[in-house]
């Protein structure tokens, strides 16, 4: 047997390393064709036989609980071979890991994943394959499109393709300290316009007690038929409507003296407990659960009502947040994942149970009338919270998705404090950010 000299070994090792390096320098795989119309149904990659184990990632513990209970029932009722492992991962990490897995061609990717609307746009960036199943065909052919609230599905729809099913309608309402407001003789039913609301709260703001913290700009903008992007993806941040809305928010403190910037993090809940903020005038359905969790002593003190409108007969709600459940196209069990999605996300029972567990008002119309959604809520003085959400639900505005929403928020984020402090104006700020995003969009066109 011939001997392998050290020199020969090193040569071979060097050659192997060189090949690895060259392989690393190979051109990236070409992107699949862009803009192909969505196929009505996409065949699953493999037909599942025997035990089926699906992996689902979510960043919301309440979603995880609900998914687990739905999976247990699905196994019992539909497929005894079905098994769902639900993994809870922190918000940022989960989106980052999903992105890496999709970028790596599905290596280590889950079968189902919850993607938050604020991060979802980033997945649509560029001209490549998103890595998620386009559900448009299935949702249409099974008749779900008409049953889902289209304005919410817009968040997960881009260039005619729908990649996710929304968990919540996220109707926004006013949560208010009924023990203070109603005791002061305010008839909340008469607070129909924002002007009425300001006038009613003004006399109640004393010392360090104010009506509210600064309201979300994008949320109020949507209430007023605007948004940061229109349905065609054009930047709308620097419109007069957007600038005027921000000025109005700042006037709550500057002119009316009824608002103050809320403290960040846990200090916010301490301030709420101490009664320093009398209302949360534009918060989503899921905030009902937050109040219960973080302010348990608030039981019997808080109630909810529709948001005041900008003008008579105007919209009395908006939308805020949202999470879409998606199927990863690299899953071995796409077909089973779709069946489970229908059982959980697209059924009356699944939507009702989710509301009871998480306070997420269903975006699935057939579930909205279910009696179980209208049980009196002890925390909110036995108010029928479902009735409040159902009342404003049909008016929830659309929120259009854009691959650039995440970067726009990232550019806006360092500027809010200076806006609140009056060091910069909404007009200059919004124009600067809007132009920056337009420039990026042009570069990537």
């Amino acid at each position: 047997m011939s001997q392998l000299s050290r020199r020969t070994f090193l040569k071979l090792a060097g050659a192997a390393a060189g090949v690895s390096a060259l392989a690393a320098c190979a051109p990236p795989p070409a992107a699949p064709p862009v803009g192909e119309p969505a196929k009505p149904t996409e065949a699953p990659k493999a037909v599942a036989k025997g035990p089926i184990k699906l992996e689902l990632w979510t960043f919301v513990n309440t979603h995880a609980r609900w998914f687990r209970s739905m999976a247990a029932d699905y196994k019992k009722e539909k497929n005894p071979d079905f098994d769902l492992n639900v993994t809870e991962i922190a918000y940022g990490d989960m989106h980052d890991k999903t992105q890496i897995a999709l970028q790596a061609g599905g290596v280590g990717a889950p079968d189902l994943v919850d993607l938050e609307q604020g991060r979802f746009g980033g997945f649509l960036r560029g001209k490549g394959d998103v890595g998620l199943i386009d559900l448009t065909g299935w949702l249409t052919s099974a008749g779900y499109m008409d049953k889902l609230v289209a304005s919410r599905q817009a968040l997960y729809t881009y260039k005619g393709k729908t990649y996710g099913v929304e968990h919540a309608l996220t109707p926004c309402v006013v949560y208010y300290r009924a023990d203070v407001i109603e005791k002061a003789g305010v008839d909340v039913k008469k607070l129909v316009l924002w002007d009425d609301w300001i006038a009613a709260y003004k006399p109640l703001c004393k010392d360090d007690v104010v009506a509210c913290s600064y309201l979300g700009h994008d949320l109020l903008l949507r209430q007023n038929d605007g948004d940061y992007f229109d349905k065609d993806g054009n930047v709308q941040l620097d419109t007069d409507l957007s600038i005027n809305t921000m000025d109005w928010i700042l006037d709550l403190a500057r002119k009316h003296k009824i608002a103050r910037q809320g403290p960040p993090g846990d200090a916010w809940w301490t301030a709420i407990k101490e009664g320093k903020y009398l209302s949360l005038p534009a918060q989503a359905d899921w905030y009902a659960g937050f109040l219960k969790d973080y302010v348990p002593d608030g039981k019997g003190k808080w109630k909810a009502m529709p948001m005041p409108a900008w003008k008579a007969g105007g919209r009395r709600t908006s939308c805020y947040g949202g999470t879409g459940s998606c199927i990863v196209k690299y899953s071995k069990y796409v077909d089973e994942a779709w069946k489970f999605m229908q059982y959980s996300m697209l059924s009356v029972e699944g939507n009702v149970r989710r509301y009871l567990e998480t306070h997420l008002w269903p975006p699935f119309k057939p579930a909205m009338e279910d009696k179980r959604l209208h049980a009196p809520d002890e925390y909110y003085s036995n108010q029928d919270m479902g009735a409040v959400f159902a009342d404003v639900g049909p008016e929830v505005p659309a929120q259009y998705q854009s691959p650039y929403r995440s970067e726009m928020n990232s550019l806006l984020s360092p500027k809010w404090q200076d806006l609140y402090d009056g060091k910069i104006t909404p007009k200059d700020t919004f124009k600067e950010v809007a132009e920056a995003i337009r420039k990026i969009m042009k570069e990537e066109a």
């Binding site: 047997m1 011939s2 001997q3 392998l4 000299s5 050290r6 070994f9 090792a13 390393a17 690895s20 390096a21 690393a24 320098c25 051109p27 990236p28 070409a30 992107a31 699949p32 940022g92 989106h95 980052d96 992105q99 999709l102 970028q103 991060r119 980033g122 997945f123 649509l124 960036r125 560029g126 001209k127 490549g128 394959d129 998103v130 890595g131 910037q261 403290p263 960040p264 993090g265 846990d266 200090a267 301490t270 301030a271 691959p403 995440s406 970067e407 990232s410 984020s413 360092p414 500027k415 404090q417 200076d418 990537e444």
Partner: protein, 293 residues
Amino acid sequence: MQWQRRIAPYIFISPFFILYAAFHLYPTLWALYLSFFQQTGIGSAAKWVGLGNYIKLLSDDRFLKAVVNTSYYAAGSLFIILPAALLLGLAFNIRDLRASSFFRLFYFTPNITSGVVVAIIFGLVFDFEYGLINNWLLAPLGIAKQRWMQNAALIMPAIIIVGLWRYTGINALYFLAGLQNIPHELNEAAQIDGATRWQVFRHIILPLLRPVVLFTVVIAIIGSYNLFGEPFLLAGAEGGVRNAGLFMTMYLYLNAFRYMKFGYASAIGYALTLIILALSLLQLRLLGAFKED
């Protein structure tokens, strides 16, 4: 069987090299390659831009801001954290110091605490309304409450305070190790010759500590430019008001994971590498690491 004996050592050490090549070398080379392309979005095709990404960095306000911020923190590490650690190391080295083991453990503990936990706790410590610093340190001195995380001028000092709390102890232990290696006879001889404490420190201890100073300085520079968790969690992904707490690593993260600009993020990674390399070499040269004794 001769060849088997010859190859055996290489096989024994090969797992490290295989893993290193797969998980370090390959991504490192791939990132270098990617830095010459514009690749934006999952599964998108890469477009050759040559040095375009690097040239763009030079006119990117947020990148330049991140370089300034990161350098600000590095300066804090060098001129505040390390001197504090040296003082602490000298204190640990006092003979007959009671409970010295307890103090060493006490000051070392912050270093083994998770960065995430530290950032969350300090988020509460710096809170305007209810925070420890405003209510327990500043208020008794009659100093007005400060908006630590909402004031662009205070964000970096706040992050340096966290760094001071977290990294002073471990560096003090490095200095202590160096101090304990200095023969005590040298101090005694100098004192007999009439040297003051300062002169002993300046002309005996400090020169003999040079290898440890060199080590801590280089580690501090590398650590500062690689810092991510604390500023990310304390100031937010964008570094808070006017990007005052935006570090280079955070800007890399934003580009890769929020904007999906993989090529540009790779270029930031290599720019960061070049800065660390240049500063480390400069420090090694200034502190005479290349001199032959």
